[in-house]
Symmetry: C2
Subunit: 156 residues, 2 copies
């Protein structure tokens, strides 16, 4: 890894901390512990959020859609980065593709494999961090709440 790659990894890990804080906030509220944040091309935080299925009875608010929503209306998503604690499901992968979000930083894709390969095939830069804290968060949650988890990913 050269210096530039190292710096990019360090930035990705810093940004992931925002998403993890969101996931932990969701867990503390009794919700599904997935968090996300949308960063601008200049590194500015545009929006952050977490899954709100339980808290609001709102199945449309996955972590990524919550962060996207909280960023408000944007004319362009070129150069933006979506950071998420968990590999994005098809719903959230579709969001990334449709709005031309340039990069996705993924905390982990061990407990759930979303659409990140599909996104990579459509020109989205994917950064996988294999973060042990993210893995532990989801592994514990799924083990203790299998029905809720299956509901959230439409697995019936």
């Amino acid at each position: 890894m050269d210096d530039q790659q190292q710096a990019a990894q360090e930035q990705a890990r810093q940004w992931l901390a925002t998403a993890v804080a969101e996931a932990r906030a969701g867990l503390a509220e009794g919700g599904i512990p997935i968090g996300a944040a949308l960063y601008g091309p200049d590194g500015r935080l545009l929006g952050r959020g977490h899954n709100r299925r339980v808290q609001d009875g709102d199945p449309s608010m996955h972590a990524e859609t919550a962060a996207f929503r909280n960023a408000g209306r944007q004319r362009s998503y070129r150069g933006t980065t979506m950071v998420t604690t968990l590999s994005p499901c098809w719903y959230c992968s579709g969001l990334v593709r449709q709005f031309g979000i340039s990069r996705v930083v993924i905390g982990e894709s061990e407990t759930f494999q979303g659409g990140h390969d599909w996104l990579a095939g459509h020109g989205v830069e994917i950064v996988q961090l294999d973060d042990s804290e993210c893995i532990a968060l989801m592994r514990d949650f799924i083990k203790n709440n299998p029905a809720l988890w299956n509901e959230d990913i439409g697995d019936d």
Copy 2:
């Protein structure tokens, strides 16, 4: 077309009327005229909604996601039908795939081509209605509001 197909087409057209009413409500509010509705396997209306980008400053509320949200939490989407005035974008197509919505009824795909072929390839039943009212609604809207339309589909 046999009798069964004819009955299915008639039901699809009836359901489309709900989505068109939503699109017209959105237009009357100064919004983007796309409407949708989610119907259960038994034909019961589970949720309906329209694009709310302008009204709520919320880019996450496309017509389909609004209908999905308004349907609240569901244990399973097996056998459900998403009816939409316009071919679903990647974001909304991802929603359909992730949650296992069985069928999509599309008012028109002439002014915008979304992910319905992709969905068909993944086992979702697609019913295209080529509805002239839906086409006229979007054609007029796009002609008069090109920047807003491009913003809504992330076309920068």
